[in-house]
Symmetry: C2
Subunit: 131 residues, 2 copies
């Protein structure tokens, strides 16, 4: 899969997320894009589905919200497990990846004969500035 050629709606949603300080809910995105012709939630959700599939966007389960992936590179390959710190104060989200955790989780799930498809790691708390 080459770097994805996005459709118009996908591009609009991606841009909205990229230019946002923090995560946005689907409905917040919708509101931001009304001026660009968006009228219904499905227009957002359908674009998000694709962007998630392409690995360009992450869903924050504990917030029901979405963020642009912070990885600079192409999104042609899997980045393994993605983890987030989420500040309750300022809303800042920091994405990180850690090989050690990935290995350890892999060991633990293998022990259960569990076949992992998607791993969610979200750490809620306060960042340095908001502590």
């Amino acid at each position: 899969m080459a770097t994805q050629q996005l459709t118009k709606n996908q591009t609009l949603v991606m841009d909205a997320l990229s230019h946002s300080e923090g995560p946005m809910s689907a409905y917040t995105i919708l509101d931001k894009l009304r001026d660009h012709g968006f009228r219904a939630p499905l227009q957002v959700y359908r674009a998000l589905d694709k962007l998630l599939e392409y690995g360009m966007v992450h869903r924050l389960e504990s917030l029901n919200a979405f963020v642009a992936c912070s990885c600079p590179h192409d999104h042609e390959h899997d980045h393994g497990v993605t983890a987030f710190t989420i500040c309750e104060g300022c809303g800042q989200v920091t994405e990180f990846h850690d090989e050690a955790i990935e290995q350890r989780l892999s060991t633990l799930t293998r022990g259960q004969n569990f076949k992992t498809e998607k791993t969610t790691i979200e750490i809620r708390g306060h960042c340095q500035s908001c502590a």
Copy 2:
């Protein structure tokens, strides 16, 4: 805090979760408890809030659902980070705790000067039977 004396509603919700095979949404719990006089979502959510606070129930963020804590002991102390495997096939949820992951996450967040309040780890996939 001694082991909690639960109210009537809290007991009903706790029992519903304990006797369930897998996780339940708040509205599923509501339906199960209609015969016991439950009429409105808030009755469930208020009970769940307390049970979560007491550590007797966990919320699965990626499912918007709740499970009884599988720990046998009293819930008087914190068990640290709780992680779950969630089978997409049969819905089975397995709770586990791992010191190594906890340590590693602690190290990583300390590096950001991030003060952790709650950690969510949920692994979606397929269990041995459903693979």
